[in-house]
C-alpha cells in the first residue's frame, strides 16, 4: 500500500533513488524485494487498461506525459549505475549543473510502434545508442554503454506500453537525454552525468500533418559549422536556430533549410530532419562531412532506395540544384519521410511533385511497413519489445 502511494507521487525520483540506494549500499536483499513489488505493480497497471485515455485520432507532437521514465547516473570514474524507472515527473538539478550553465547535453529520438498484431516494435535502436556514444565523446561526456542505453529504452517502452498508440494512430516517441548534472562554476566538463529516457505518444511532427511542407532557405543563420557540433545530436545545435525557425514560420513556412556556414552555397539539412532531392532515377542527399547529423532514417532510406534500384548520391549539394529537382523530401525519426511541396530561396519559389505514385511515397510505404511490422524485416532492423 505504501509502495503504491510512493509510486503515484509526482516527484518520486528521489524515492526511487533511495530504492536504487539500497542496491548501491549493498542491501541487495531489500532492493530485490522492492524491485519485485515494483515489477508486479507495473504488470498490474498494464493489465488494468490496454490503452491510456488519449484521443488517438488527434495526436500532434506536443508532450503528453506518460507514466514512467528511466534514469541512471554516472560516478566520477564514468561508469553508469544500473538505472531504474520512476514515475514521470520533475528532476532535481543543482543550479550550477553543467547542462544548465554550459549546455552540456545530448538528445536522441526514437519511436515505438504498435503493429497490427499487437507487437510493440522499435526501429534500429542500437544505432541511436551508438550515435549517443559518439556524441558523448565529442562533448567530453560520460555515456551509458550501448547495452545500458538499450535497457533504459526497453524499460521505458514496456512500462509505458499503454501509451503506445493503436496501430496506425502514431507512435510512442522516446527521448533519451544525456546531460552534465554535476556542478561546475568555471567552463569545464561536469564530473557527473545523468541519463534519462522519457516518452510521449505522437503522430505528425509538422502542423501540416501529412500535407507537403514549404521550406525556406536560410542564408544568415547556419545550423552548424566545420569543427562545431553539427554532426552530433548536441542540444547546443538547437537553441540558436529557434529564431530562424520563428521567422520562417511567421511567414508561413513549415521549417528552415540551412546552408553550410563556410560558403553559404550548399544545402545541409532542415532544423530537425535530413533532406533528399529526387531527379529521375537519382536521389541526392548532402554528405555527412562533420556538420550534418547522420540520420538513422536517412541511412535507412538510402538503403531502401538502393534496393529499389535508384542511384543514390551522398555529396555536396549546391543550393541551385533545388531548382532542378522533381521531388524533395525530408527524413527524421520525428518527421518520418515528409514530402516537400516547395522551397523558397532568395524570393524564388520552386514547387515539387507530391502525392501518390511518386518516389517519396514509395520509399515511405516501405519504411513505414518495416517499422510497423507489415513488411517482412529482412534487414533485421526491428527490435520487438516484450
Amino acid at each position: 500500500m505504501a509502495l503504491r502511494c510512493l509510486l503515484k507521487s509526482p516527484t518520486t525520483s528521489s524515492y526511487i533513488s533511495k530504492i536504487c540506494g539500497f542496491r548501491m549500499h549493498g542491501t541487495k536483499a531489500v532492493a530485490s524485494v522492492v524491485e519485485e513489488h515494483v515489477s508486479a505493480m507495473l504488470r498490474s497497471e498494464r493489465e488494468d487498461g490496454e490503452y491510456a485515455d488519449v484521443d488517438w485520432d488527434n495526436l500532434g507532437f506536443s508532450l503528453v506525459p506518460t507514466d514512467y521514465m528511466f534514469a541512471t547516473r554516472s560516478c566520477k570514474e564514468g561508469n553508469f549505475e544500473q538505472g531504474c524507472l520512476s514515475r514521470y515527473g520533475n528532476m532535481e538539478l543543482n543550479p550550477a549543473a553543467g547542462i544548465l550553465n554550459y549546455g552540456q547535453g545530448l538528445i536522441e529520438g526514437m519511436k515505438a510502434y504498435r503493429g497490427e498484431d499487437g507487437r510493440v516494435l522499435m526501429f534500429r535502436p542500437e544505432l541511436n545508442a551508438m550515435r549517443m556514444k559518439n556524441g558523448a565523446e565529442r562533448m567530453c561526456m560520460h555515456s551509458p554503454s550501448v547495452q545500458q542505453f538499450m535497457e533504459g529504452v526497453k524499460q521505458t517502452v514496456l512500462a509505458n506500453k499503454r501509451w503506445v498508440p493503436p496501430p496506425g494512430k502514431g507512435s510512442l516517441y522516446l527521448r533519451p537525454l544525456l546531460f552534465g548534472s554535476g556542478a561546475s562554476l568555471g567552463v569545464s566538463a561536469a564530473s557527473e552525468y545523468t541519463f534519462v529516457v522519457f516518452g510521449s505518444p505522437v503522430q505528425n511532427y509538422f502542423k501540416e500533418g501529412t500535407a507537403a511542407l514549404n521550406l525556406y532557405v536560410e542564408e544568415v543563420v547556419p545550423r552548424a559549422y566545420i569543427g562545431g557540433t553539427g554532426a552530433v545530436k548536441a542540444i547546443s545545435n538547437y537553441g540558436p536556430v529557434l529564431d530562424a525557425m520563428r521567422r520562417a514560420k511567421a511567414r508561413g513556412f513549415s521549417d528552415v533549410l540551412y546552408l553550410d556556414a563556410e560558403t553559404k552555397k550548399n544545402i545541409e539539412e532542415v532544423s530537425a530532419a535530413n533532406i533528399f532531392l529526387v531527379k529521375g532515377n537519382t536521389i541526392v542527399t548532402p554528405a555527412t562531412n562533420g556538420t550534418i547529423l547522420r540520420g538513422i532514417i536517412r541511412e535507412s532510406v538510402i538503403e531502401i532506395a538502393l534496393d529499389l534500384g535508384y542511384k543514390v548520391e551522398e555529396r555536396v549539394v549546391p543550393v541551385e540544384e533545388i531548382k532542378e529537382a522533381e521531388e524533395v523530401f525530408c527524413t527524421g525519426t520525428a518527421a518520418g519521410i515528409a514530402s516537400v511541396g516547395s522551397i523558397t530561396f532568395q524570393n524564388t519559389r520552386t514547387e515539387y511533385k507530391v502525392g501518390d505514385g511518386l518516389v517519396t511515397q514509395q520509399l515511405r510505404s516501405i519504411l513505414v511497413g518495416i517499422q510497423t511490422g507489415s513488411i517482412q524485416d529482412t534487414k533485421h532492423w526491428i527490435l520487438e519489445i516484450d
Binding site: P95, P240, S271
Partner: protein, 385 residues
Amino acid sequence: MIKTISSLRKSLALPIHLHIRTLQTFSKYNAQAASALEEREKLFYQNEEYADMDWDNLGFALTPADYMYVMKCSKDGDFTKGELTRFGNIELSPSAGVLNYGQAIYEGTKAYRKDNGKLLLFRPDHNAVRMQHGAERMLMPSPSVDQFVDAVKQTAFANKRWVPPSGKGSLYIRPLLMGTGPVLGLGPAPEYTFIVYASPVGNYFKEGVAALNLYVEEEHARAAPGGSGGVKSITNYAPVLKALSRAKSLGYSDVLYLDSVKKKYLEEASACNVFVVKGRTISTPATNGTILEGITRKSVMEIACDQGYQVVEKAVHVDEVMDADEVFCTGTAVGVAPVGTITYQDKRVEYETGDESVCQKLRSVLVGIQTGLVEDTKGWVTCIN
C-alpha cells in the same frame, strides 16, 4: 565624538549600517566626525561575520553561497516578482527547453569588498542589458534591467558573509535565464526561470596570477557568423570543451579561437576577450556578431583611452598576435590576465609581462575602481550596503 556615536546607537537600536548612514549626514559638516566615523566603520568591518572559508586559498570551484534568487514567467508574459530562497536543487521537467534544446543564457558579475567593508558591484546594468539582448536572440523573455540589477543586489547582499575580505577575492554572481517549460518538438519553451546564485572565488585560472600560456586552436571554432557567439548562450560553451581539455592536457591555460570562415583572425578565448599590445597601440577583435562583447573588455578599452593609448577594434590577424609586445585577456571571471606565451602551429611566442607592462597598468586601474581604491569618476561602481 565616538562616545556620542555609541550612545546614539544604543538609544536607537538600529543596525550599525543605518546608524552610519544617519551619522554621515552629520559628519558632512564635521571633518573630525568624519574620521571618527571611518574608525567606527573599520571596527564594524572587523567584527562582521564571515562564512567559514579558507580565504587565502580560493580558486574558482563552486562553493554555493547561502541564498539564491528565483523568478519565473510564461513565454508571452512578464517576469513577476522574484524571491530569495536557500541555495539548493531546482526542479525541472525532463522535457524542459534548456535540457533538450539548450535554450538558456547566463551572465557573470562580481561583488567586491572595499577595504572599509562596503560591498561593491561593477556595472551590473551592463550585464542586464546584455542578458536582454541574448534573450531576444534565443527567443526568451527576459527580466527588465531594474529586475536584473535588483536580483543581483539582493543576492549579493543576502550572501554578504560570502564576499571575501578585501583583497582576497570576490563573490562571483551567476544569473541564469532558462527555458524550463516542457517542449517535445523543437520550439521555444512555454515557461522561463531566472535564477541568480553565487560563490566566493579567487583566481579563475589555476596559474593564479601567473601569466597564461595559450594555444591557438585551428580545428574547432567557437562561433560562426549568424550563430550565437555574440550572446552569452550556454550553447557556446559545451562545444569547446573538447578543444579546451585537449589544450589543458598539453599544459596550456586556455585556447585562443580563430574565426570559422578564414581561420586566420583572432576571436577570443574560451571565457574571455583578448587584447594585443604593440607600442602604444592596443588592438582587440571587433565584436561583429561572433565575439562576446565583454563588460571588462569595454571598461579596459575606456581606461586605456584615458591613459593615452590608441585603442583599436578591428579584425586582428593571427600574425599580428605573434608579432605583439604584450597580450592579455579580459573577463569578469578572469579579470585582466597577462598572457606569457602563445603557441600557433608549433611556433611559440613569448610576451612581456610584469609590473611595468601595459596589462598591469590597466589591471591596477580596473581593480582599483572595482574595489573602491580608485575614485569612481565614471559611475561604474554601485555600493550595496
